[in-house]
Subunit: 111 residues, 4 copies
């Protein structure tokens, strides 16, 4: 694993955390299924684990593989949930940030 | 999985997070290998993932299985690191809180 | 300020953080004004600052006065918001946890 | 307050949080006074409150003024602590990120 890959992963985690918190606000404004406890809870937990993983990598600890593995899986779940919500620019943007983060975190977890 | 087990796991996560943050302070006061970037970083990351897992369970989301799985593994690593530090009441106390949290999180992750 | 007071404040912060995250779930289930971006965002931010303040006290840093001052004010805002939501056991429980945390944090901030 | 100013403040908070976590690692590697419980604890708490403030702004809640006010003060304390550590590129970098964040957070808090 190169430093370049880790820096990119840290960046993807931070961006995903920001987009997930913004998407919570968007989904609460929309209401309905967008504002279900499961969807809002998943978005906030995705933001949380992204921040934890970014910090584990910034600290340079071995355990970053574990947090990145969990982050990849939560990001995948969050992307799927956003995609299921259907045709909405904000959901698409969130799903994309989650997919990008999931990919680089899965890569970090496997090295 | 009963509500009782989940409530106990939430409690174990919160207690482990508190003990890990206290242990950071203890280890910085001791210095030497106790204050290495790897050990301090692992303790703080353990506190962080414990808080994330407790919150995922409090939110009642499915994704708590993923965060609890990662929490169990980080807690195991943290317990081992504290045990390797050897004969010290504070390290023993931290290792115990981590072991207890790891056990109940592993149980939550598998259900 | 005695150690006893600080330990009690740490405990109040942790309990308030837990109750706020539970109340987010409750409010999302109720919907309507309970699930507004402002109310859900305030509850989650209250949980966040409570955790930060508890950790600052556990770390024993001088800066805990600043985080406790902010925590007291956010807890007051959150208690008022919950009281405005009116007749609901869960909102009363959250308001009480916020009031108790606000009082002890205000005390810590002034010492 | 314009959206531009808030976006810039969010960005400064996120950058400051990243630099503070990196600086913890740097200070632990250096050891001595750099690795004191007070200094490491302040750096980590600065990262924490920066993240809380960024999220409060992303959520669009009124309470962001309170978290930004506390963030500005913790960032000032952290900048001073880093400057007192003296002649070191990493401490200067951290102090600069803290000063920049303190300025924009103070502005957000006063509006």
């Amino acid at each position: 694993m190169s430093d370049h890959n880790m820096n990119e992963c840290i960046d993807n985690c931070i961006k995903c955390a920001v987009v997930c918190v913004e998407t919570v606000k968007h989904c609460l404004t929309k209401g309905g299924q967008h504002a279900s406890p499961e969807h809002i809870g998943l978005l906030q937990t995705c933001a949380d684990i992204c921040t934890v993983s970014a910090n584990a990598m910034l600290r340079g600890i071995e355990g970053h593989k574990v947090t990145c593995g969990a982050c990849a899986e939560i990001c995948r779940q969050c992307a799927e949930a956003c995609e299921r919500m259907g045709d909405d620019e904000a959901m698409r943007r969130c799903a994309e940030a989650c997919r990008r983060c999931a990919e680089s975190c899965a890569q970090m977890a496997s090295m």
